[in-house]
Amino acid sequence: MSPDLMSQPELYHYLVLGAILFAIGLVGFLARRNMILMFLSTEIMFQGVAVNLVAFSRYHMNPQGQSFVIFLLTIAAAEAALALGLVVLLFRRRATLDVDEWSDMNG
């Protein structure tokens, strides 16, 4: 790696970070069977997208993108509470967190 590449982070560094976060979340979502972990994975994908947004906002010197991310985080927090509540309810029904237990739509 060249030294100037190390000295100053460019736009593509952030985009790669966002893509890595998104990929980790995606793999986690597809691979884990635990509902809480799956939910966690979706949050990670979410953050990957948020990083992208902030990076582009800085790159274009447009503050709208960053302020948008603030809203996004707030909503993500609310949504996390809701989703965890649902997970608790689902857990009470089947006494397990395994998502494969909920396959009633089996054709």
Binding site: L26, F29, L30, V99, D100, S103, N106, G107
Partner: protein
């Protein structure tokens, strides 16, 4: 007065609509009130109309069109009335006897589930019957004709939880369809030939079509309709089964009025029939044969109402015989007297049935006179009238038909038939007297012996759980409803001493007895008595001539036919003597076998076993129809069913199988696993993105 004749059908129609709409919730046990009031109103108008015609001898018919009912191109059927002596007499006895039967039914049907329904149907029947006789064209006649058929169907099937009632209703309706088909063809041919369906237009233009083939065949087609409605061989099979309906229905519709619609139609179409002598001969032959057939069947029946039903068929045969030998007024006279005494006989039979708890088998009862002191007399008067004993009504009218038959010139293709038919009519008279008094002596005379059910109210089929296992829910639902009905009326249907029943039942019997005793005298006296003076103009030529109000009516047709017969084979007086002796002989035989010495009857029946079996099975006519018509139709139906089920349905199933097959192949992809769906989604998006990228890069 005749200008108000249009009111006669309207009162019963209003009553039918009112009872139909309000009966179930509001009127309930009082449903008979509007019906009876409507009948009284109609009767008053009808009698007024009749009085207007009987006053002025040979009065011209009253015709009035109210509005155009069906107008299509050149075709026009108006809604209008045609009132003459014939229709005036018909509406009078339809409403008069109808009123008595309505009153009787209010007692007979009391507490029955569906009481209001019964009266709504009855009122509907009277509406259609009066339309039938008052209409001024063939289309209105047909409307009334089909309407009474409908009312008859509804009332025969009144006890619809009983499978036999449903079967009888269908049988009546379908048999009548056969006749109506001929009738409809006849009307089509009339319209094609004459270009009109109006009575006056059609009948007055007959001379200009003399000798045409259409004119020859029209009466034959009309006759088929009359044979269906009036239960003549070979379409008579429905009438005895129609006794499944409640007894007042049997009395009103299937004895006194509706079945005489065929007589009315032929009497009304006299000019058409006169133009085709062969048709008249066929009417006479069929009438004579049916009279004989039904009378012999009645000899060996054991069901009270069935005996009267066959008797009705037989008496209708007499009426057709009368029409066939061009003695129209004698035939209508017999319709008139028969309406009284047959209604009386049926209602008396109904009273017996009511007292015996629904039992109708004459072998199971004897000496009923002890418990039914009024009914025994009314039944006796009815029986005397039917058997033809003077001075009862049936004697005069039947006697006249027989005498007219002997004196007529009826012939079929040159073969004179008057002696054969007259002899047959006398034989039927003997048979009639015998079977009538067989029933009377069996049921009312001899040692008193009542069936076990006597004194109980007839078990309503609505309360019976179904024996055959079909529709158990039906029975259960109806059971609840029947209980409800009983609560409503606070009527105790438990065991009581068998009796004549309430006054509403025996009072009409007494009035009808008077009719059965006295109406015969209307046909005796100068110029054939009141009834012939009234009716002869109807059968005279020129009755349907379009009257020009500026020219005074010619009296040419005033008195025709009755005494002017030049060559009489038998004089009326001699005929009276002969038929009186024959009636007494029949009664005497019945007296010996069915009162004095019943064992002898049993012994004789054992000796004549094959004949008795033949008659008990009604000449096997039902069985013949079963084998020749119903069985082939049944087989054809099953063949069609097989074709439909395996070929037509098979194709449909194959077509329907295609999407099902596709579904089966795609089904395994839907496993209900969340992550598989997510994988699929991502794979799809990835494929799209790669595709787009590849296209863009190109």
């Amino acid at each position: 007065m005749e200008q108000y004749a249009y009111l006669i059908p309207l009162f019963p129609l209003a009553a039918a609509v009112l009872i139909g709409l309000l009966g179930a919730k509001v009127l309930k046990g009082f449903s008979h009130v509007p019906a009876i009031l409507a009948m009284v109103a109609s009767l008053v108008v009808a009698l007024g109309v009749l009085a207007a015609f009987s006053g002025a001898h040979g009065a011209a018919a009253y015709k009035h069109d109210y509005f155009n009912w069906i107008a299509a191109g050149k075709f026009l059927a108006t809604a209008g009335i045609f009132v003459d002596q014939l229709s005036a007499l018909y509406v009078s006895f339809v409403t008069g006897i109808g009123l008595l039967i309505f009153i009787y039914a209010s007692g007979y049907m009391k507490g029955d589930y569906g009481y209001f329904r019964f009266f709504a149907y009855l009122a509907l029947f009277v509406f259609f019957m009066t339309v039938l006789v008052l209409g001024n064209n063939f289309i209105l006649l047909y409307l009334g004709w089909e309407g009474v058929g409908l009312a008859s169907y509804l009332l025969i099937g009144y006890y619809y939880p009983r499978p036999s009632a449903v079967a009888a209703a269908k049988k009546a309706f379908i048999t009548n369809r056969v006749g109506d088909f001929g009738f409809a063809l006849g009307i089509f041919l009339i319209y094609l030939t004459f270009g009109s369906v109006d009575y006056q237009t059609v009948f007055s233009s007959i001379p200009s079509h003399t000798g045409s083939t259409a004119l020859y065949w029209i009466p034959f087609l009309l006759m088929v309709g009359a044979f269906g409605k009036s239960a003549q061989f070979p379409l008579h099979v429905w009438l005895p089964d129609a006794m499944e309906g409640p007894t007042p229905v049997s009395a009103l519709i299937h004895a006194a009025t509706m079945v005489t619609a065929g007589i009315y139609m032929i009497a009304r179409c006299t000019p058409l029939f006169m133009a085709s002598p062969d048709a008249l001969a066929v009417v006479a032959i069929v009438g004579g044969f049916t009279a004989f057939l039904a009378a012999t069947i009645a000899l060996c029946q054991y069901d009270l109402k069935r005996i009267w039903a066959y008797s009705t068929v037989s008496q209708l045969g007499y009426m057709f015989l009368g029409l066939g030998v061009s003695a129209g007024s004698a035939a209508v006279f017999h319709v008139f007297t028969h309406a009284f005494f047959k209604a009386l006989l049926f209602l008396s039979a109904g009273s017996v049935m009511h007292a015996m708890g629904g039992e109708l088998d004459i072998r199971k009862m004897s000496g009923v006179r002890k418990v039914m002191p009024i009914t025994v007399w009314t039944m006796l008067f009815g029986c005397l009238a039917l058997a033809g004993v003077p001075p009862f009504a049936g004697f005069f009218s039947k006697d006249e038909i027989i005498a007219e038959t002997f004196n007529s010139h009826v012939s079929f293709h040159g073969v004179p038939l008057n002696l054969i038919l007259g002899g047959l009519a006398l034989l039927v008279a003997l048979t009639t007297a015998y079977y009538t008094f067989r029933l009377f002596f069996r049921v009312f005379m001899g040692p008193t012996e009542l069936p076990a059910t006597a004194g109980h109210h007839e078990a309503s089929p609505f309360a019976l759980p179904d024996d055959h296992g079909h529709g158990a829910d039906h029975g259960a639902a109806a059971h609840g409803a029947a209980d409800h009905g009983a609560d409503n009326h606070g009527h105790d249907h438990g065991a009581q001493a068998p009796s004549d029943g309430p006054a509403s039942m025996w009072l009409p019997l007494i009035v009808l007895s008077l009719g059965a005793m006295l109406t015969g005298f209307l046909g005796t006296g100068a110029h054939g008595g009141w009834i012939h003076q009234l009716l002869d103009p109807v059968f005279a030529p020129g009755h349907y001539a379009v009257v020009n109000p500026l020219v005074p009516p010619v009296e040419a047709h005033a008195l025709e036919g009755h005494e002017s017969e030049a060559a009489e084979v038998v004089s009326h007086t001699a005929m009276m003597g002969i038929s009186f002796v024959i009636a007494l002989a029949g009664i005497g035989i019945a007296y010996y076998f069915h009162w004095r010495n019943r064992a002898a009857a049993t012994a004789l029946a054992a000796k004549l076993k094959p004949l008795v079996t033949f008659l008990e099975n009604k000449w096997y006519i039902d069985e013949i129809y079963q084998a020749l018509l119903l069985k082939p139709l049944w087989i054809l139906g099953h063949l069609c069913n097989i074709v439909d089920r395996f070929i037509v349905d098979g194709l449909v199933t194959v077509v329907g199988f295609v999407p099902q097959l596709m579904g089966y192949t795609l089904k395994p992809t839907q496993r209900g696993l969340l992550q598989r769906y997510a994988t699929g989604m991502i794979a799809g998006i990835a494929a799209l993105v790669i595709g787009v990228v590849l296209i863009v890069l190109k």
